[in-house]
Chain length 343, copies 2
Amino acid sequence: MKTFYSPVHLHHDPLAQFEGGVLAPAVEIPVRVERVRDEIQARKLGPVLAPTPFDDAPILRVHDAGLVEFLGVAHAEWRRRYGENAPAALPSAWPARGLRDGRHGDIEARLGSYAFSADTPILRGTWEATREAVNVVLSAAQAIRGGDTSAFALARPPGHHPSADVFGGFCYLNNIAIAAQWFVDAGLRPAVLDVDYHHGNGTQSIFYTRKDVFFCSIHADPHFAYPHFLGFADERGDDAGEGFNLNLPLPAGTDWALYEQALAKGLAAVEGFGPDVLLVSLGLDTYIDDPIASFRLKPADYLRMGEKIAALKKPTLFVFEGGYNVDALGEISVNVLEGSAGR
Amino acid sequence: MKTFYSPVHLHHDPLAQFEGGVLAPAVEIPVRVERVRDEIQARKLGPVLAPTPFDDAPILRVHDAGLVEFLGVAHAEWRRRYGENAPAALPSAWPARGLRDGRHGDIEARLGSYAFSADTPILRGTWEATREAVNVVLSAAQAIRGGDTSAFALARPPGHHPSADVFGGFCYLNNIAIAAQWFVDAGLRPAVLDVDYHHGNGTQSIFYTRKDVFFCSIHADPHFAYPHFLGFADERGDDAGEGFNLNLPLPAGTDWALYEQALAKGLAAVEGFGPDVLLVSLGLDTYIDDPIASFRLKPADYLRMGEKIAALKKPTLFVFEGGYNVDALGEISVNVLEGSAGR
């Protein structure tokens, strides 16, 4: 299996994220991807390849041009406001009920109007890394399109939380949604399976009224977990998309016995959709010792997860998402990939 | 002039507020009110009186019952989530476009759904202080109702940012709006003049579609200043309230020469409304050395502000709002009050 990787992600190196009332050390950090790449090479999963550049067209097929423009200029606007050595940009006020949208306002208004959480810092190198992550994912998609049965986009920052015009959750652009749309535009019928601990609210939103992309997410119940405001079981799709969205929220403490039931259900639904290609939002924060999550999957469970996904026998694009135990991340990521490759 | 004051505000003693990408030392702190009280006593402005208790009915005339209930239980819910020694509760995710409202969700969802900014911490003593501030303001209103020509509600936390169902901006309940409605319910015709540096977005929202309460705010232009999402000159009221809302946004660096033109305009509009009673949101963050603001008013200007307000010859309830230079706050607050009392 080919892995696509670019060192440009190193330019996005956040120090802190605001959550739970504190500015805590960032968990979505460069070493995450570096550890996974090391493990891929140690276990000889296959070649690690540089991405090829893509223009903005595939991004603009799923994202609002205003969001894309904003992300490109946000840090420069923030520096003009707070100085060259300002801390990372984070929103601290937003247009709640009764307030006016601020997407055309100053940097504070724009940040608050384009974001849905204060855990997603914009640094000097954030846009460059974000843009390169899209190249990584689309390069992996291109490998699938070229006949590979699977590929791994080892991209960062992750991508499944942003909708067409709102970013958050350590994510800026929705990598997997951009790839899914790129497959649609190539005449294929994609399904997205999201196994990150957190609901893939952005991906869901982007395809929520459409029947040409199936979305299934297995995740911690938003009644207690981030992203709080989407990911409930009653979200089944709207309009033409009704029945093409499946959320399988699970309780805190979920172990493999419970998880595999949800996975079987999700995979059956994906199979029922009859996709040409499967895209997997591969979050590893379901791991028992993840520092910000509450599920209890063990290393061997990830081999099984890979096997079950592979049993669908569909060309499969794995896209790296969350997972914050950096000591385990290499092993459990590659377990999924090896499991899917039948090793 | 009677001043109403209660030491219960001391129970709301925040350490930090999240803004500009940093968790900075709180500026809305107990010493603010203590310094003003000291100055009132030193300059013998008049008696400093304890408030009498009011039930929740006047609060529920302007605020959504859900917000009031939430503020009462928020810190207990936060402690259940993050422990007895948790830092103050602050929202870090909110239901932006495309996300579901979380007012009936867990504490993180409720916080994000009821707040519009992350600068407004909820501590163990916040609700008690918030509730007592309403008693302070209504007690001062009662003095006016009883025939006093002016009164000062030295209340904290401040109140002009919350709308009926959204809090923020160091404020939890809208003290002055509760008092204005209480006057309406007593058969009077109130006007609110907001001279805080920041637009009184909550007060505006509460009365925006009504013609029985006039609202005028003189403030830093939201194109560069908090609250970012309301306070523009084109907001003139809606429906029956059209023409009963007047915003006078001013540029950074505004000094008394420019300010007094806006004040004259605002007071002329208030006079044109013909109120029975005037309520003044008395923010002192227009001061030249305020640590979070950019206007340039000097101590003597506040005497003139008081004189001009008094020239309307209406019973006047002054309600303490912002102002964060604790060394100047006593002098400039009492300058307004003395100026209005003709001393």
